[in-house]
């Protein structure tokens, strides 16, 4: 499933993996685009699977003419050995009937590669929030028990809010609680499979709605940066992220002048 780009195999042992979940507003994917573009990460491999819709295009992070024509596929892995960071970018939706298979493949790849921790960037429908969630920060996190052993209560100490559970039978007072991430795509599947396989994994998500989700991506990424410190930021200011070339024309082509 993972195919290395060059002949030399890459080792991810001890690295941190950041990956998006295909979720409402595509916020995770936008945030990952910002990470790869800002840190100038180089592609080290592909995730070649039939669980994702195929896609091909030219280099989305092109900075000059020479690298503009590198072909890009629907799921690629980028790496920054100095930061011991690997990033997986997924560019197309998961085929609906293959969602479970995809989660299992991802979990087994994460386990086999030996990542020390995995971060899933995701989002959830803002309109599904309850009264309490409407107040305060729209950012939430979830961590697997294995991750709890690694980071302890660090995230709670940073005033991060854990994602609330919902009652299985709304209205019934003592029904059991379950995890519910509407609009999160494969987030819940990845999280539950990682719990079962003892993988240190954290989900960081933001409540948002469809629309121009670039501000949501920045919010999510700045929040993540307070923990992982991917980019240095002087106190009281936000870090500077570089917007990739592929973000042009997100809302369509140029307007015909004859329209006016």
């Amino acid at each position: 499933m993972f195919v290395a780009a060059e002949c030399t195999p890459t080792s991810f042992k001890g690295f941190t993996l950041i990956m998006p979940a295909i979720s409402v507003g595509n916020v995770g994917q936008l945030a990952v685009d910002l990470i790869v573009s800002t840190l100038n990460m180089c592609r080290v491999g592909y995730i070649h699977t039939d669980c994702l819709i195929p896609m091909a295009g030219n280099n989305p992070y092109a900075t000059f003419a020479e690298n503009a024509n590198d072909l890009s596929t629907n799921a690629e892995v980028y790496s920054s050995p100095e930061l011991r960071l690997a990033v997986l970018q997924i560019r197309t939706p998961i085929i609906q009937t293959k969602s479970k298979k995809f989660c299992k493949l991802m979990v087994s790849w994460i386990k086999a590669s030996g990542f020390s921790r995995t971060v899933v960037l995701s989002s959830s429908h803002a309109y599904q929030r309850d009264d309490q969630q409407l107040l305060g920060s729209p950012l939430r996190y979830l961590q697997t028990p294995s991750m709890q052993k690694v980071t302890g209560d660090r995230l709670k100490e940073m005033d991060w809010k854990e994602m609330e559970t919902v009652s299985t039978f709304p209205g019934v007072t003592d029904s059991e609680q379950r995890l519910y991430i509407p609009g999160g795509g494969a987030t819940k599947g990845l999280f539950t499979d990682s719990c079962a396989e003892d993988i240190p994994l954290v989900v960081v998500l933001i409540f948002c709605s469809e629309g121009d989700n670039i501000p949501d991506a920045f919010t999510l990424l700045n929040h993540l940066n307070t923990w992982l410190h991917l980019v240095d930021a002087p106190a009281q200011t936000q870090p500077k992220w570089r917007i990739p070339a592929s973000w042009r024309l997100l809302f369509g082509s140029g307007i015909p002048p004859a329209l006016f």
């Binding site: 195919v3 295909i22 070649h48 030219n58 596929t73 509407p182 795509g185 082509s253």
Partner: protein, 264 residues
């Protein structure tokens, strides 16, 4: 989601489906899904001669140096009119498949007739290496595909005279110049052409894709002619008809007739 006038609209997301959460299959659903999966498997049916050489080769692979794939009515029409029409090509196989969009409830066992949606394999008579079965070494792939110009994103508005036009994409293993400008970001490709190109990229097979953007929905001779530069690099192996009579082109281009006119 409530709106200004009080009616409730369902919110949809471009990224996720509504019922993504809790996909728990019952046992009998699983069996039905498995049966449908088997029914949807893609099989390739070869002519007896090719089937024999596949068996003889031991590894079930055919020798191939160049594979040309055409996806879309205009691309396929171009190949049929300008290349396959030179009478030195044999039809050697076809793809037999079924999915929920096919007419009929079972797959076809005979080769598809012209005019039906189909996938056919042709081999050059004099140079049997020009065709394909995807072996990895010594193979180079060319894909021709067409797409509506409405899907092409550009900051400056495209005037009518610029259309149809070609853009190209190459895998990293493909050396040499493409014969038209590269597809600019943020344009992308999906579907079969993208799947072929991704496969070639991941397995380091030289591949080049020519995408023609056109404003005509049906097969059209002007659009088909746009693909001509694409076959120049294969001109040693593949003979192109330099100029075609109108009759030949008419066979491949469907003239849109008014199917139902409101006034007749």
């Amino acid at each position: 989601m409530a709106t200004f006038f009080g009616e409730v609209l369902s919110v949809y997301s471009r990224a996720v489906e509504e019922d993504d959460d809790d996909l728990d299959d019952e046992n009998e659903d699983e069996r039905i899904h498995r049966e449908i999966e088997e029914k949807r498997e893609v099989h390739i049916v070869w002519c007896p001669e090719v089937a024999q050489s596949l068996e003889d080769s031991g590894s079930n692979k055919l020798q191939c140096s160049d594979l040309i794939i055409a996806v879309g009515t205009n691309a396929a029409g171009f190949l049929s009119a300008y290349v396959l029409n030179t009478e030195s090509w044999d039809a050697v196989g076809h793809v037999s498949l079924w999915n929920e969009r096919s007419r009929g409830s079972s797959r076809q066992s005979i080769a598809p007739l012209p005019g039906e949606p189909a996938c056919l394999f042709y081999r050059h008579r004099d140079n049997p290496a020009v065709f394909g079965c995807l072996q990895k070494r010594g193979l180079s792939v060319m894909v021709l595909s067409d797409s509506p110009v409405a899907e092409y994103k550009t900051p400056d508005y495209l005037y009518g005279s610029a259309v149809p036009f070609l853009r190209s994409l190459k895998s990293s293993a493909s050396k040499g110049q493409a014969l038209c400008p590269a597809l600019e970001q943020p344009n992308i490709l999906t579907g079969l052409p993208a799947a072929v190109l991704s496969h070639c990229q991941v397995h380091q097979i030289p591949a080049v894709l020519y995408q023609c953007y056109t404003d005509v929905i049906s097969p059209d001779s002007i659009t088909m002619e746009t693909f001509k530069p694409a076959l120049l690099c294969l001109s040693k192996l593949v003979k192109l008809e330099p100029c075609l009579s109108a009759d030949v082109l008419r066979k491949f281009a469907i003239i849109t007739e008014a199917q139902s006119n409101l006034y007749t």
